[in-house]
Symmetry: C2
Subunit: 425 residues, 2 copies
């Protein structure tokens, strides 16, 4: 396997020097600025500690979480655009967190949601704001390459053994990540009511685990699309090792180029990268490729209220991404008279999945630091912690939506076919 050592996570030059920059002596204006910052984010129960040890409190001086700001420029940047610069300065080590990073983020997110500036108000054009890249064909390739093509070996250090980088399903909260990812694949297969001999198309297949599970456990033929070169290479290799190459075809191409007719359409964790401007086109792809009695499933991160993602997340982690509201998702179905059969919200399962990932990530941080560098480790820690916090407090959702054509009367009568046992491997 080809593991690139280059760090594709690039910090802006102003943040590169890290802790070498001394903040100088704290003066009255620094304290005033720190108070302004706390005020701007709704006075959370949080202590700000400046570079010389001076402490400023939001609500309650005994707050269990604190934010250490290591120099004056970081403090200034926080006031200017906290949603971008907190992430960059945390990554560069100019900001440190005392206490649990997830607790800190939840405290701040909850507090910001109560302020006028950051309050949760639906914005009909949310998905077009702060988007450095849209998702035309070449841009979609660039966006996907940015996150997914940084080395399979990196992801192997903290994902489950089947390499699923999407929300798991925990039949009970204590089950392992390995079991929960298999249970998720089972749940998806049962929602699709797969039967041997059927054909399935998968839009956005990651490292190909679901396609192999469907082929291996349900005897279906799968065509799985993905534009990440490294993921496709890995998926093909594993299908070969497992003797599934006759049943699973991995295609390095965009979902817009899907052709053929299939008994099932499935997409797990791709819609976040599609963008609402392209939902009608994705809907047309579904309409073109689904048989009359076919069933479809889309599994995606979503949100209650249409709001843009934070600029840090969009610039450093997932360019071009947007988690839709259920209302926005309906643009996939309504114009084509597709019937929504079932929506399940697995938000708390995604918080738990991310907790497993973060734990494994931390257990391997020395190795990851060697592969990339310290700022990469810190950025990914922040990203995974931010996901946990957002799913915990309900700022992000996870929707599984099952659909069919409106004329399909062979849909399941009840949900009795869906029960997934605790361990299904």
């Amino acid at each position: 396997m080809n593991v690139p050592r280059a760090n594709t996570f690039v910090l802006p030059s102003c943040c590169r020097n890290g802790k070498d920059n001394s903040g100088g002596r704290v003066c009255g204006i620094d304290v005033w600025l720190a108070r302004k910052f706390l005020q701007a984010i709704g006075k959370p129960s949080l202590r700000v500690i400046l570079w010389d040890g001076k402490e400023i409190s939001g609500a309650g001086s005994a707050a269990p979480v604190a934010m250490l700001i290591r120099d004056r420029s970081a403090l200034w940047r926080l006031l200017k655009n906290p949603l971008l610069h907190f992430g960059d300065d945390y990554s560069a080590g100019r900001i440190e967190i005392e206490g649990e990073l997830v607790d800190f983020l939840e405290t701040v997110y909850r507090s910001m949601a109560r302020t006028r500036k950051f309050q949760k108000v639906s914005d009909p054009a949310a998905y077009r704001r702060n988007q450095p890249n849209l998702n035309s064909l070449p841009e979609a390739r660039r966006n996907i390459h940015h996150h997914y093509d940084i080395g399979n070996e990196f992801y192997q250090l903290w994902l489950d053994r089947e390499m699923l980088y999407t929300c798991a399903y925990f039949p009970d909260p204590d089950c392992s990540l390995e079991d929960a990812q298999i249970a998720k694949m089972e749940l998806v297969c049962r929602k699709l009511r797969l039967q041997a001999g059927q054909s399935v198309v998968e839009a956005g297949c990651g490292w190909g685990a679901l396609a192999r599970h469907m082929a291996g456990h349900y005897g279906v033929k799968v065509r799985a699309y993905n534009i990440s070169h490294q993921q496709i290479a890995y998926a093909r290799q594993r299908a070969k090792t497992e003797g599934l190459q006759g049943q699973v075809e991995y295609i390095e191409d965009d979902y817009r180029n899907i052709s053929g007719k299939f008994d099932a359409f499935v997409s797990v964790g791709m819609l976040e990268h599609v963008g609402p401007d392209n939902y009608r086109e994705l809907g047309s792809v579904i309409d073109r490729c689904l048989t009359g009695q076919g069933v479809g499933l889309i599994h995606t991160i979503g949100q209650n209220i249409a709001r843009p993602m934070s600029p840090w997340f969009l610039r450093r982690m997932f360019p071009g991404s947007y988690p839709p509201t259920l209302r926005e998702m309906m643009a996939l179905f309504e114009p084509l008279d597709l019937t929504v059969l079932d929506v399940e919200n697995l938000r708390l399962h995604y918080a738990k999945t991310c907790r497993h990932w973060l734990e494994r990530f931390e257990n391997n941080r020395e190795r990851i630091r060697e592969m990339f560098d310290e700022s990469f480790v810190r950025a990914w820690r922040l990203y995974l912690s931010g996901c946990i916090a957002n799913f915990d407090i309900g700022s992000l959702q996870l929707y599984q939506v099952v659909f069919s054509r409106s004329s399909n009367n062979l849909v399941p009568w009840t949900r009795s076919h869906l029960t997934v046992p605790r361990a299904v491997s």
Copy 2:
């Protein structure tokens, strides 16, 4: 019980004479008009038989369903506005159907959906079209009175013994209507995860069965709102008979006047009468009355594509009604950051429920004719058959939507609490 003999279903004067009007001799222009009519509705597999026996075929002369038009004026009216006049002239006996009425309607609906004029195109203002009445407070009262206050004895002839006039839930397709309605109430209670001692508010309680079930089987306190005077009177009487008057309070008032805080909000079969213009207000009522850890459920007829109901249905059956799309329903949740936890589509269960109702209705048609008149019997037969047809072909859906506040992390982990056994009574 007070049973009004007056028929509140009033046909326009042009239709009152029924079969007395002879159509005269069929001439060339009548045949041409019948062909035009068939063409306008997409040439379905259907025979039109004119008043002298002359037959004109749509697609296929051996079509199993035929439409007998008894006079020339009915033929003219069909061409002018089939969506209104078919219903009125069928009710008046100027149009008869050979073969099964449901089959006839499904044939025609499917054919119309293929034509340009009647094709399914989403209309953002659908719910404002063809609406003779909107749903301000006094109009809502008039609209509800029109359908629900025509005598409890009438509804007792064809509803189940608990008097539920909403979609039942058939754990298996063969279970009885009585069992299926109890299973529906169980499903709703389980989705709400009711626990003894909790408080519940019900918006639009019909004859009060769900409120009594929740109080009697789950030990919760219920405040149930309805603006139908006859339904409230019946509900109070039954609660008294069953010794539940201390636990269930039936309030003759509009949902907009709900006050207090409740652990659960439930509304089964009311949203169809609310109208999307009032969803934000209903959302505010929910936001006002739901506790922090509260759970809500809305059960409503819906549709895939935003389209107005037929003018006949709106004028003669349900003034002011509109079945929303899921997109439109989100106006209840998105502005208030409410989280949708679960959506289940019970479309085929409603087709089956309506089949049970129609069968019971037909078994009691002599009695109903005595209570009202023949045109009432025919109009209600058409209405119930039309419902079966629309749920069968997927023009109508039945959504159960479960929701909570976004910050509620005590929501169920999986759906394992939902399994409803075959017979739960």
